[in-house]
Every structure is written in structure tokens, then in C-alpha cells.
């Protein structure tokens, strides 16, 4: 039986980054992608579409990625949802802050495809192996 198509929420205020991430993930598996350009829209999609994973930028207008992450982790239903931050925030203090907030993994831009796919596979497919 073919694997179920994953629903992946890609949150970044720049279309070019959303496309890069979606193109990379498409090389790994069949996914349905949902796009959000800020944390507020992402929260609505999280609640309505219940994605299997979230690829999350940090710096975005209105509600940023860290705020979205904290809100998501406050909901019991999303406590273990794979949320992978893909961000230009490269300082160690930022990584620590994201880990404290419950991020599943952290990728610093520029995005390396092998790294992204490895982390996605590790966290998203772990229950399917």
C-alpha cells in the first residue's frame, strides 16, 4: 500500500524560500503543502488542517516563528508535532531559545538539501518505520 500523502505546513514570509523548501521535500516524498506567510496564518492552518509537520521560519511579520512555536506547544494536541525551524537566525542564543520553546530541529539558512531531508526523515518518518 502506498504511503499516505503527508500534509506539510511551510511557513515563511518569502515565496522564494517556501518554494525552495517545497521543492526539496518533493524529492523525498509525496506531500500536500500548505503555505503561510506569518505565524498568525500558520496557527489557523495548524488548527484547521492538522498538518503532519511544520517547516517554520523565525523572522516574519505580525506573529513570528518563535511565537507560533510557543503557541503550538501550549496545545496538548501539538506537543509532539514535528516543527523544524528553517531560519537565518544563526546565533547560538537563538538556537537555545528555540530549543527551550520546544522546536523539534533547527536548520540555519542557507538550506542544505541533504541536511533538510535527513532531519525531515528522522522526525517525520520516525513513527512510520
Amino acid at each position: 500500500m502506498p504511503p499516505r500523502q503527508l500534509v506539510v505546513l511551510v511557513v515563511d514570509d518569502r515565496k522564494v524560500m517556501r518554494n525552495i523548501i517545497k521543492n526539496m521535500l518533493s524529492n523525498l516524498c509525496q506531500c500536500t503543502f500548505l503555505d503561510a506567510t506569518n505565524g498568525r496564518d500558520a496557527e489557523q492552518l495548524l488548527l484547521s488542517a492538522k498538518p503532519d509537520a511544520v517547516m517554520l521560519d523565525w523572522n516574519m511579520p505580525e506573529v513570528n516563528g518563535l511565537e507560533f512555536l510557543k503557541k503550538a506547544r501550549a496545545l496538548p494536541e501539538y506537543k509532539n508535532l514535528p516543527i523544524i525551524m528553517v531560519t537565518s537566525e544563526a546565533a547560538k542564543s537563538n538556537v537555545r531559545e528555540a530549543v527551550m520553546a520546544g522546536v523539534t530541529d533547527y536548520i540555519i539558512k542557507p538550506v542544505n538539501e541533504a541536511d533538510l531531508l535527513s532531519k525531515f526523515r528522522k522526525h517525520v518518518f520516525k513513527d512510520q518505520n
Binding site: 515565496k15 522564494v16 524560500m17 516574519m60 537566525e89 546565533a91 542564543s93 537563538n94 539558512k109 542557507p110
Partner: protein, 163 residues
Amino acid sequence: MDKGYIESFVAATRVALVEMFGIEIECMTPNIIDIESEYKNASWDFIANIAIGGDFTGLVTLNFEKSVASRIAAIVNERENPSDEEIADVVSEIVNIIAGRAKANMQDEYNLADKLVIALPIVTSGKDVVSYFPKNVKRLIDIPFGIFGDQRFEVCVAFSTRN
């Protein structure tokens, strides 16, 4: 600003262009230039600004002629003749990566006591656009890069330490 800080921006620019998008660039000799008499006489079509606050306050700007910005956006989007919106999207992402990497280098390598914070990028486009720097900043570091043979773009950095 010492040489190490300038190198942080050069390295960050390489990361953004070469590693992220596979576009070769060549760093030329950085200059310290006067904002009023030199920078504002320059002529650019796309400028991406990003403000940094914390132990330093300042502005990082990425300055392009449209032909260069358009070619970069075409490579990134894998499509000829990108729209101005697509160009702005790409240059915005590039300055975001540069500022994020440079911020991390400065914060981690120089043990800055307070966290540096980067704002969201702002892209301005049009004929002969310029950036507006903080009033107390009179000079900036201009780092020119060669790209696509004989074309160029510039990364400009202006900082003042917090009192």
C-alpha cells in the same frame, strides 16, 4: 568597527550567494565612505535594508542595479524575466541571510554581552534609490562584490555602539 566585523559580512554574503544559490561572487576592497557626499551619489535600483539593534545599532543594506538583481532572481526562480515582486522577494531573503549570519558571527565570536536583534528586511526599488541611515552615522563601510563577470553589487554596513 574592526576588520573582523567586516569579514563577518563578507563571509555572510558568500554564504547567501554562493552556498544558498550557487552564484559566484568576488569580494573587492572594502572602503569607508561618507554617506552624504559619496553614498547618496550612487545609483541603485533595488536596495534591501535590515536594521540591527542591541549592543550595536545600525543598518545593513544590499544595493543592486536592476540587471544584476533580476539575473539573480532568474537563477533562483529558474525562470527568465522575474517580476519586480519576485526580485524584491529574493533580495530580501539574501539580506536576511547576510544579517542573520553576520549577527551570529559578531555575537558568538566577539562575546557581545547583549543579544543582537535583527529586524525584518525592507526592500525599496525604483530609479536611483538610496537608504537612510541613522542620523548619528556619518560614514559607512562599503563592501563591493563582483558578480556575473564585470557587474557588481554592494553591501553597506553602518553601525554605532550603544552608549
